[in-house]
């Protein structure tokens, strides 16, 4: 332990701890911008500078360790001036069009400038004009980048994809796509983690809300909306509602207020996915004559699909051929649902609300039109776009009453809900696979909860199912995924079934989720989903009556010819890099 003075307060701090952390523990807040704990402690923005008595120059609090006997001032006149100058310098290279910025109100630079009382840009505007393909799901605005390097660090160290890098040197340095490539020429997984870790509006997802509003306004169009599992755990964060208040029932009510004709749930399609993927697993692995060399991998995460296609193209055949729940939903909506309701499927406009950026790419893939009525999913909105839509519609969550999702694509089991968290797909699959094999329920509904919560490296488990040992693994985050893949290829790890989610913590930490600056909420949101599962009336996908009805009335059985046509896809139909 070391003793020091911060702002005239005697403080005891841990050896090796940063001044920033020591001050925080003592209740003294030091403003930061580029700092990201454990990931980006590089002192680039020089906003956290503090005065250490006896030193000629200021030091960065984020990466200067405490020393015994230091006397530190976090807000002296010298500090205040340097901090203000540095923020003003940042503003000179920042397109300060806050009124039209997606991050307005949730922008670290805006907060800083406001908090420091900066009412004027004193330096010459040196903003670099944006130069970007606006049709790509991931949008970067050079004019807003503050070069905090967070995107580089996240992509290098968490996702291990190295899409971002510093380009040029000296006076012309910038953060841009690495390797002199255009973004669509890279191996970008579209996980969107760079977006959720960007302190400003330099990285965003393409905004498609106008297209949705147009469809809602068109009397000839029937609008369907599906909401992904993880969205319900985060949809109201940016609107100031508590987690307790922001129930799925209120979310359904809000969607109806916006004007969707049918409010459905992707959780239904998640149950459907379990039916297809679980059956495929039984067929391909457990009942196979020869055990395959590599495990079967889940395919519900489009970020992961982009990753395996670019990084391990030789292993693409190990992916389940099952489409993601989003795409299963779209295909079923424009076929089964249209037929049931006797609607021309071409009139249907399917919107999905996803915690994800890659889903925007997935929905637009040329193969995702199995129902024969255009793209099965017309538009994908992120949770953030959904929040903005709610704000623009002046929807007050507190005044909403609980409502239920529409039938028949609105009914779901708890197994479908937990698709939104790491381990959830595996757990849901194991529940149903166990029942199919043994003909009975597992000893407990939570028998497979051991696969939940894989944040570091990967989690593995082995379960005895009617005398057969099923070995499974779960990983979230692409850096962790790469480690797991390398182990599998090297033969040091053997599994039957592997679940991968590209974003750390799974979809609840997805790149399309609301941005909570300085907080990683994947776990909190995931726990929310597991709570909803625990209290759900149904816990098993195969018990979902609506799912049973689809098979009875339309698809016959899992992996049927029709099911294959609508619910499966050939991963070789397109290749990475892909626009």
């Amino acid at each position: 332990m070391v003793k020091l003075m911060i702002d005239n307060k005697a403080i005891t701090a841990k050896e090796g701890e940063s001044i920033l952390a020591a001050a925080k523990s003592a209740g003294i807040a030091i403003p930061t911008l580029c700092h990201l704990e454990g990931l980006n402690e590089i002192g680039a923005c020089r906003v956290c500078v503090v005065e250490v008595k006896g030193l000629d120059r200021l030091v960065a609090a984020c990466n200067t360790p405490v020393e015994d006997g230091l006397t530190i001032l976090t807000n002296s006149p010298r500090v205040r001036q340097a901090r203000k100058v540095n923020v003003n310098l940042l503003l000179s290279r920042h397109d300060c069009q806050c009124l039209t910025c997606a991050r307005s109100g949730n922008c670290a630079l805006q907060n800083l400038a406001n908090n420091l009382g900066i009412v004027e840009r004193v330096y010459k505007n040196e903003t670099i004009p944006a130069d970007w393909d606006a049709s790509f799901p991931l949008i970067r605005d050079m004019g807003k980048c503050v070069q905090c390097m967070r995107c580089i660090q996240v992509c290098d160290n968490i996702q291990d994809l190295h899409v971002w890098d510093l380009v040029n040197f000296g006076s012309h340095i910038d953060v841009d796509v690495s390797g002199n490539k255009k973004i669509h020429e890279t191996d970008c997984s579209l996980c969107g983690q760079c977006i959720t870790h960007c302190p400003v509006g330099a990285l965003t997802a393409r905004d498609d809300t106008e297209k949705v509003l147009d469809a809602l306004a068109n009397p000839d169009v029937i609008t369907l909306v599906q909401v992904a599992p993880a969205v319900r755990a985060a949809w109201a964060e940016a609107l100031g509602a508590s987690r307790e208040d922001a129930t799925p029932g209120k979310m359904a009510a809000a969607l109806r207020r916006i004007g969707f004709d049918y409010v459905f749930d992707t959780d239904f399609a998640a149950d459907l996915t379990i039916m297809e993927e679980g059956s495929e697993f039984l067929e391909r692995v457990l009942h196979a004559k020869e055990k395959p060399r590599y495990p079967m991998f889940t395919s519900c995460c489009p970020g992961w699909v982009r990753f395996i296609k670019s990084q391990y193209p030789d292993m693409v055949d190990c992916l389940s051929s099952a489409k993601s729940p989003q795409q299963m939903f779209g295909a079923v909506a424009k076929s089964y649902f249209a037929e049931t309701k006797n609607i021309d499927p071409k009139k249907l406009f399917v919107v999905s609300i996803m915690p994800c950026v890659a889903k925007k790419h997935e929905a637009a893939l040329p193969t995702m039109n199995s129902a024969g009525a255009g793209q099965d999913v017309d538009i994908v909105l992120t949770t953030r776009e959904f929040s903005r839509l709610l704000r623009s519609e002046n929807i007050n969550i507190a005044s909403l009453k609980e409502e239920v999702f529409d039938d028949p694509l609105g009914e779901a089991s708890g197994a479908g809900i937990i698709f939104g968290a790491t381990g959830g797909v595996m757990e849901a699959a194991l529940r149903t696979v166990y029942c199919i094999i043994t003909g009975k329920k597992p000893p407990s509904d939570d028998a497979f909860k051991g696969v939940r919560g894989s944040m570091h490296g990967w989690k593995s488990a082995a379960f005895d199912v009617a005398g057969t040992t099923v070995k499974v693994a779960v990983a979230s985050g692409l850096g962790n995924t790469r480690k797991l893949m390398e182990a599998i290829r090297a033969g040091t790890a053997h599994y039957d079934f592997v679940e991968i989610m590209a974003c750390p913590g799974g979809c609840s930490g997805g790149g399309g989720q609301p941005i909570a600056m300085g907080e990683e909420l994947a776990e909190t949101r995931g726990n929310n989903l597991f709570r909803l599962d625990a209290t759900a009336a149904l816990r098993y996908s195969h018990e979902n009556p609506s799912v049973q009805a689809v098979y009875d009335k339309y698809l016959e059985k899992p992996l049927s010819h029709k099911a294959h046509h609508l619910l499966h896809s050939d991963h070789h139909d397109w290749s990475m890099p892909h626009r």
Partner: protein, 611 residues
Amino acid sequence: MARLNLFKESAAQAAIDDVMSDIERRLYVSPFGNCHVNLVASILKMCHAQSCGKCVPCRIGLSQLANIIEDILKGKAVSNTLDLLEKTALSIYESADCAIGYEAANTVIKGLRNFRGDYENHVANGKCSPDEGGSVPCVNRCPAHVDIPGYIALVESGRYEDAIRLIRKDNPFPTACGLICEHPCETRCRRNILDIGLNIRGIKRFAADNCRGSVPVPASAPQTGKKVAVIGGGPAGLSAAYFLQLMGHAVTVYEKRKYLGGMLRYGIPSYRLPREELQRDIDAILSTGVAIHPDTDIAGKDSLDGLRKQYDAMFIAVGAHTEKRLGIAGETLRGAMSAVQMLRAIGDGQLPDFKGKRVIVIGGGNVAMDVARSSVRLGAANVSVAYRRRQNDMTALPEEIEGAIAEGCEILALQAPVAIEGDRDDNVTALLTQPQIIGPIEDGRPKPLNADKPQQRIPCDLVILAVGQDIEADSFVPFGVKAKRNIFQTRSDVSIEGMPGVFAGGDCATGPATVIRAIEAGKVAAANIDHYLGFDHKISVDVAIPEPGLTNKKYWGRVNMREKEPSERKDNFNIMEFGMSREEAIQESGRCLRCDRFGYGSFRGGRNAQW
């Protein structure tokens, strides 16, 4: 793929390194009179190009500093622009993460402190401060403003006598300066932009060495009837005497010592400046009709007052001939002496016998080297030079230090003298020193500090202190001359406040400096005394300067001076430097870029034909 690879410099890196070293030399020869503010703006751009871009203060701040200065240069500054510049620079200095950023900002801060007037002038008037520079860098850098391109062109054409006449227009010591001038003219030579500055002194020496006989001085102007007394027959006094005599005044030089020449004779050993060479210059000066009173000490109020009454004007140029002491124990022992004492005796032709003696010289300047090398020539068994700082901190010219080492002198660096030890008979037996450690840089020089090491005892027979010279101010203060730390206080026209008609210059008014600065003082004194006496005589010379020929300027090496081998030079006081050959002199002269004729020189004139 290999895990590690050997570093290999790319051709591109080598090329840019080459450009950098070109720029380094180019920056060094930045002409006088350039706009400082403009230079800082350009330097900032360069610094910004070095930024890695990680941190805000450096990545953005340096560019914004340049923008603000650019506004100032374009006359777009407003009242608080300088405040913004200062505040921004300070914040960058305080908060940048590494030296690339904070030292770049420091460049601006230093400028704001040291030439704020330039900035203010730009802000207030939208213009730069009035130009204080000249168009020809070597002429500008030479304190006497000798027409260097002119005489180089004359040497190239084989007109050596004309070269001497041209030099004498500004400097009556062409021979002495050809041998021992510190040549500040060479430091900013524009040739550095191409390869390396010219060997100007060597070319001058070549001209002096190759004149046919003595070059007659010009005819004096008609007698004015005015009488001027010059006290001190060194380079300052004799220069003033020469020019005043040419202007038609009657000059009398009073010299305390036996011979004229001042420090040229009593400070500089003859192996660098042979007495007969010095005499050539003195003879030419005296040929103008200067009257001399050697061996005459004019000091004290009465004799000065008397002299002032006899003469219409007076120029005091008594130099800095008293020794400085260290104030350590043993300085009065037999065998402890000052450099001034020793060199003075040699100047008067009394060579001391150092045969078999162990000599320690204390000091690190050119005088210390002169004393050490003279000691070698006087037969010392061994000679060491003890210095408080490191060898590269010595103020002596590097070639002087190398020359001393080549002749067998040892450099005892980082040794501070503590005491001189003597025996019962008061004969020196050793020097005690305290080893030093090099310390913080103050006023541009690293300060030595006592190292954590025991004192050393270095046995020796003689200790010679070469730790600086002082001025005999006490003799002149009662007369009315004001002195600060013994340095006579004069105006920039070398007049003395409250003493009309009395002028002072040279070492006595600057502290120990160079010969060429003493000559400058003499020249300035002559002009202003002439003016004081009510005249406006012009000094000029009727020598036509050859036009440069049309040649390609190729990158070309510099002809350096060569010296006799140590074995041939260390046992005698004969001149040790070889002059250039004719081939070398013509080649070296051909390297001159003729700044008198090209660039700004062709616009505003590269030459002052008279003064």
